[in-house]
């Protein structure tokens, strides 16, 4: 056993370093600031760049520029910062710019509570951009997850050339805990596919279910990048067929890879009729509640989602099928439960949520499960 002791935010930074991140730009905001602090300690000795933007919009702009020059970039913020990131999230989605965004969520709306946790932004991360094209959102439940999922996030950002969120929470980011480094399970690193074709480089030419091969701005081959609606050549277009193809591909490139994007943990107990679905920090209290219920002779099964967006629909359908009843627990007043109800339409789905600045205790979850 070789225990390390760190907060979730440090683990995100270590995950980023393990993934080969070499550029960070951010703006201080509680409870995400210590990701920035850690990157400022870790990047310079490795030759990377870490800067403080004049605001969140600029921080994302710096990241977009650096990513287009071929860097693996990370930024970190909380809800109020995500609000300001919005225009650049849209840019990165539409123009296929790899980015990893750590969102250490705090209690909203608006300024809300800087030092109180909540899974405030679960729908906002998915929909806080124009056009409705998808992003990937991964939800860690503890510090170890922060490290592992950040590596996955970089891999996904590189492969699919889209923004990938780490949906952390003040209660993970600023809670220090021990974990065994020997238990770490890091995926092999994925880098964006370079263009190796022999013809002229067409920057957005891609298979219908893939991100386009990448070349950096500043390389031998001239590259065009634009936030405007563009054709494969990177020039603005009004051709409906070309537009439709590009729009569809932004969805299909993720849909086609859902099997690989879907990350989760489960504890299926034979002969149980209730499946409790949760994610993030809440899934730890759910595990405690499930253990107590089992001790009382009323066991339940649990599913903890790590990939929230795109919604792992096949997984939800498959895992929920054997159960009579689904219970969803969230650290908000009901955000992701709407996706679960949509996917499992017709199946009884009960919900318990809490938005009061403190963690949902296992006792509340047991109550929610037992009150059927």
């Amino acid at each position: 056993m070789a225990f390390v002791f760190m907060e979730g935010n440090e683990a995100v930074a270590r995950g980023a370093m393990a993934a080969g991140c070499n550029f960070f730009a951010g703006y201080p905001i509680t409870p995400a600031t210590t990701i920035f602090n850690n990157m400022l300690q870790m990047l310079p000795p490795k030759g990377g760049t870490c800067i403080q933007g004049e605001d969140e919009i600029a921080s994302m702009g710096y990241c977009i520029g650096a990513s287009m020059a071929g860097k693996k970039v990370l930024t970190a913020t909380s809800g109020p910062g995500i609000s300001l990131y919005s225009e650049h999230i849209s840019f990165a989605i539409g123009s296929e710019i790899p980015l990893v965004i750590a969102n250490v969520q705090r209690l909203g709306p608006s300024t809300g509570s800087a030092t109180r946790g909540a899974d405030s932004d679960i729908q906002f991360m998915r929909w806080g951009s124009t056009s409705g094209a998808p992003v990937i959102v991964l939800a860690p439940k503890d510090a170890k997850d922060c490290l592992e999922l950040t590596v996955h996030a970089f891999n996904f950002a590189e492969e699919f050339r889209c923004p990938v969120f780490i949906a952390s929470n003040k209660e993970i980011g600023m809670t220090k805990e021990s974990f065994d480094m020997e238990d770490l399970n890091l995926p092999p690193l994925v880098e964006r596919t370079p263009y190796t074709g022999s013809g002229p480089y067409v920057p957005f030419a891609a298979d219908p279910d893939k991100a386009p091969p990448f070349l950096p701005i500043g390389g031998k081959t001239l590259v065009r990048q634009t936030s405007s609606t563009h054709g494969p050549d990177g020039y603005i277009t009004i051709d409906p067929q070309v537009i439709a193809g590009m729009q569809q591909r932004l969805h299909t490139k993720l849909d086609a890879a859902m099997d690989r994007i879907t990350l989760y943990e489960e504890k299926m107990v034979p002969d149980t009729d209730t499946l409790v679905i949760s994610y993030g920090i809440t899934s730890r209290a759910v595990a405690d509640a499930a253990a107590s219920l089992a001790d009382r002779g009323r066991p339940v099964s649990t599913l903890s989602l790590k990939t929230l967006w795109p919604v792992p629909e096949s997984l939800l359908l498959e895992k929920a099928a054997p159960f009579k009843r689904i219970v969803v627990i969230e650290m908000n007043l009901g955000q992701y439960v709407n996706e679960i109800k949509r996917v499992l339409c017709g199946k009884p789905v009960d919900f318990y949520g809490q938005m009061n600045g403190i963690l949902i205790p296992p006792a509340k979850i047991m109550e929610a499960i037992e009150n059927d």
Partner: protein, 429 residues
């Protein structure tokens, strides 16, 4: 190279638009400079100046309104060998004002060309940050209630190392652009021009009037002597190089047997300045050295030198799920502020809970076993009460023993602080 212009995408400006002349002058400047196309990027803003990236055969990045300088900075930091040129209108300068100021303060080696044509041409001639108060524009009377900004004045005071103002119709424009691009540092060139599609329809603005405007407010003339300083990227890299070693995570191996391997919930109630968070970390290091899983949450004011400081620590042989405190096994009451913050827990404490109370601190009624200790009488300073409390725990072998505490102190502190800490510890155990 004789021209960088993209012949398949010729300029599409309104007849008479100054942007057309600026496009040709920029091309002439690039040719004169003889810089390689693959080491040059044009970053463009929104509006008519945002079309520039399509006219040139160089790398191109066109982004959202007002943010061009931020992408440019990201590119330049990522690849210092790039020649970075940014085109932006008076609109982009206005909406992206914070980025203009930041770019001036940073002094990255980039060239910003602000194509000032006194209005928002593309959206209908609305007033911008540079529209004169007496101009007739597409926003009714609104410009009459404001004054225009002096771009050169602003960027000069913000620290730009090269600033000039020039008519877009000036024959020396390409030479001016050459000298701006040759400048090592952040160069801003404000070009004044005509928006024939909108502005000049209702306002008497001609190349001659522009010349008069420049006579009235002459160009700062290029290199701003008082602002000269190292280029940001060079300076950044020099400073970053001096940064020490990569901080490897601190790894703790199990090396002690815990005095008791029960799950513990420890709450330390203190105030700012009492090193509560440090004491909490010590409990955690001790716990890990005893082979336990640990977690800690701290609650303190954002004004860090005032108010409560509370640490909540879990130590468990099993994986820790819920990280909240449910039934504390140890409570250390070291200040009234800290106690006030967790007032409610005392009524629910079990008779098995060990409460350490400093003599000066009042606590609510509780069924827990309370030990009162007068640290003050022991001549222990308030800043050491949290540490002294850990020594009391070690004496009773609750949660940790002395070996574990010494290990934790050694892991966290340098020799000098460690020795000072041990003076306190040795008074107790």
């Amino acid at each position: 190279m004789t021209s960088f212009l993209n012949t398949s995408r010729p300029p599409v400006f309104c007849p008479g638009c100054t942007h057309d002349r600026i496009t040709k002058s920029l091309d002439a400047a690039l040719v004169k400079l003889g810089i390689p196309d693959d080491k040059t990027v044009i970053v463009t803003d929104i509006g008519c100046s945002g079309l520039f990236d399509t006219f040139f055969n160089v790398h191109a990045l066109h982004g959202v309104h007002g943010r061009a300088l931020t992408y440019a900075a990201g590119l330049k930091l990522a690849d210092p060998s790039l020649n970075v040129i940014v085109t932006m209108g008076d609109g982009g300068m206005g909406i992206g004002g914070a980025h203009v100021l930041a770019a001036c303060r940073k002094n990255l080696d980039m060239t910003l060309i602000i194509l000032n044509n006194f209005n928002f041409g593309m959206t209908g001639g609305q007033y911008s940050a540079t529209t004169p108060s007496d101009a007739r524009v597409g926003s009714e009377f609104l410009n009459q209630a404001e004054i225009p900004v002096d771009i050169c004045g602003v960027v000069e005071s913000a620290g730009a190392t090269y600033v000039s103002r020039i008519s877009g119709h000036d024959d020396s424009l390409s030479d001016e652009l050459v000298s701006a691009m040759q400048h090592k540092g952040f160069a801003v060139v404000e070009t004044l021009g005509l928006c024939t599609g909108r502005y000049t329809k209702r306002n008497q603005l001609t190349p001659k009037v522009i010349d008069q405007m420049i006579e009235q407010r002459p160009s700062p003339g290029g290199v701003i002597a008082k602002n000269q300083r190292p280029e940001y990227g060079d300076r950044y890299r020099q400073l970053a190089k001096e940064k020490g070693k990569f901080p490897e995570p601190f790894v703790v191996k199990k090396q002690f047997d815990m005095p008791d391997t029960r799950r513990h919930e420890v709450v330390i109630l203190g105030s700012a300045g009492m090193r509560i968070v440090t004491a909490g970390d010590m409990v955690c290091f001790a716990g890990i050295s005893g082979g336990l899983n640990v977690s800690i949450k701290n609650d303190y004011n954002i004004t860090v030198l005032r108010g409560q400081s509370v640490s909540e620590i879990l130590l468990s042989p099993d994986t820790i799920g819920y990280t909240g405190i449910e039934s504390p096994t140890v409570v250390m009451a070291l200040s009234d502020e800290g106690v006030a913050r967790r007032q409610k827990i005392f009524a629910g404490l079990s008779p098995d809970t060990y409460v350490l109370k400093e003599a000066s601190v009042a606590i609510p009624d509780t069924k827990a076993q309370v030990e009162e200790i007068d640290f003050k009488a022991m001549k222990i300073k308030k800043t050491d009460w949290a540490l002294a409390s850990l020594a009391v725990l070690a004496k009773h072998e609750i949660v940790l023993n002395k070996d574990m505490l010494v290990f934790a102190l050694k892991s966290r502190f340098n020799e000098k602080v460690f020795n000072l800490s041990m003076e306190t510890v040795d008074k107790i155990v």
